[in-house]
Symmetry: C2
Subunit: 209 residues, 2 copies
């Protein structure tokens, strides 16, 4: 195995370190976050730092790096308290990647992703996205350790494409062709190995799907 | 599209809600966390809530649900300030799932995953894992919103299997057969769509890999 100490990483090349450390946790979720500014300008940006916080009530967390292109998104969320999460599917992952460019105009228009407005939320949705969520800001805090900002939001409304949701509440991400990201710029779709039975001591794991 | 309001979810079936909300962010990273108790008992448990916090210095975050099977892991981290992260690969994902069962003995022994001890860390590694990380606790806080506990740790040392690391610092998760999880119990491997060039306005996205 190749081995790296913290000191090796800190003394080494910055670009190597950034790519390496970003990838260490493994596959990450990928969502486009849609927001609208106080001046009514729509904004869209890709995020790989969206995670589950709780189901009752339904809560989601988002981590924002300080001083990055994502600043518009964070500012708009703090200003309006609303945002949308939109799964990225195989059919538009390159456009989703391109929304991270520093455009002067709305990323929806710049990359050619159509806005969907819904009465349930002031922020814009990505019309083509197979899973769309309306979120409402609950709290925001800056982590002392490196000025990363942690947003916690409630899940107010969810839309999921026909066929993407199973009867038990689980999602068929393979069928929706939801995309996952590795590091900063590498995109994958999933191939299912198995949906496994609830683990109990002394009981063989069963493949349910 | 099917649509669910927060009220629909809260008034609906608890098991549906748990599976649905857990899956909403999309694919999640999957790591086995290895710890050792003050009484020298090793512990191993699967986590899908490990995320990147920063590269300089290298930092990682882990979210722990309150009152779940993962409590041993959290207690051991708070007691010893050390833990390991181990990627789960296709060859042992069923064993990884089974470590979530409530065993009286060490999960390493119970499911048949061999311990690897390394001088760099008191916590145990999963010998067969293609990517292993030694972590040191920096801080822990309880989130007011639902008593979830957020741990922040520094990445002290990383080991990656030959062939898993590219020259630029990025990881080949497909080659390592790293597994990703959807919801609570559904496992996938990734199939690469593309590694894309840095996004710039007016510049066509290029596929680098």
């Amino acid at each position: 195995m190749k081995s790296f100490s913290k000191e090796n990483l800190l003394q080494g090349d910055a670009s190597f370190r950034r790519d390496f450390v970003n990838a260490l946790s493994g596959y990450k979720s990928l969502n486009l976050i849609g927001t609208i500014s106080k001046a009514n300008e729509t904004n869209l940006a890709p995020f790989s730092q969206v995670f589950h916080i709780g189901a009752s009530p339904p809560l989601v967390g988002v981590l924002f790096r300080p001083h990055t292109v994502e600043r518009h998104t964070l500012q708009n969320i703090l200003d309006t308290a609303e945002f949308t999460l939109n799964h990225v599917a195989k059919s538009f992952y390159e456009k989703a990647h391109q929304t991270a460019a520093r455009y002067e105009v709305s990323e929806f228009e710049a990359v050619g992703l159509e806005v969907l407005n819904r009465p349930e939320c002031t922020a814009p949705f990505v019309k083509i996205s197979p899973l769309q969520i309306a979120c409402k800001l609950i709290s925001s805090q800056t982590l002392d350790v490196n000025d990363t900002v942690l947003i916690i939001a409630s899940i107010e409304h969810v839309w999921v494409v026909d066929g993407g949701l199973r009867e038990d509440g689980s999602l068929d991400l393979e069928k929706m062709e939801t995309v996952t990201v590795n590091g900063l710029d590498e995109y994958y779709i999933g191939k299912r190995l198995g949906k496994l039975s609830y683990p109990k001591p002394g009981k063989e794991v069963e493949k349910l799907l």
